[in-house]
């Protein structure tokens, strides 16, 4: 079945450093979504990418969708303590499959 793999599983950074998480699918995706889950909270939708090679920005967050629509990345510039949480990618055709997530810790 379809699999969505995400790396790294965990990363801790100093406040102000950059952070990147990568997502790879075993099959071509129609689109990919990114979610953030704060500690103790539930996943909250961040963005959806649909087009091959698409790049979207939300303030310090940059999302990319690969040319082959099988991989994606989320890059955070100059992390802040408010960025702490777990970031998930998700995709699929008839069902939404999530990656294992990358847990980000930011040290002030």
């Amino acid at each position: 079945g379809q699999q969505v793999m995400q790396i790294p599983q965990y990363q801790h950074v100093q406040e102000g450093e950059d952070f990147t998480t990568y997502c790879n699918s075993s099959t071509t995706l129609s689109n990919i979504q990114w979610y953030k889950q704060r500690p103790g909270g539930h996943p909250v939708f961040l963005i959806q990418l649909v087009k091959s090679g698409e790049v979207k920005k939300q303030k310090r967050l940059t999302f990319q969708f690969g040319e082959a629509k099988k991989n994606s990345s989320l890059h955070i510039t100059a992390t802040q303590t408010t960025d702490v949480g777990t970031y998930f990618c998700a995709g699929g055709y008839n069902k939404l499959i999530f990656g294992a997530g990358t847990r980000l810790a930011v040290h002030p």
Partner: protein, 113 residues
């Protein structure tokens, strides 16, 4: 404000009990999902439903069943709870199965003793 509501935040059940987890959404969404979340494993899909009385297995359906008698309500049933079903359970809904934002409930932390 859109809302997905799960009936319990915390539950403790005994091994062998039949357990019902309830989820209600107020957005008139066609699709509803049940996931379980375990450390290092992310969110794994148990079952999903794309219409009333319709259901499809996800990646880990063993030991679970679901019911969707009304559009707004999706129930997860543990037929005979076991300790390896101790987990965080998350319900979600979306307008379409893939391609629109999924909204999550607050989660139910189930402990089976």
């Amino acid at each position: 404000d859109v809302k997905v509501t799960q009936s319990s935040r915390y539950l403790v059940k005994r091994t062998g009990e039949k357990v019902f987890l309830e989820c209600v959404q107020d957005m008139d969404h066609e699709n509803m999902f049940w996931y379980r979340q375990d450390p290092g494993l992310g969110l794994r899909l148990i079952y999903f439903s794309y219409d009333v009385k319709m259901k499809e297995k996800g990646d880990i359906p063993e030991g679970y069943s679901v019911s969707r008698e009304k559009k707004e309500r999706f129930s997860l049933i543990l037929e005979s709870a076991s300790t390896n079903q101790t987990s965080m359970y998350l319900c979600a809904s979306s307008a379409v199965a893939v391609g629109t934002e999924a909204f999550f409930g607050q989660g139910t932390r189930l402990t089976v003793v």
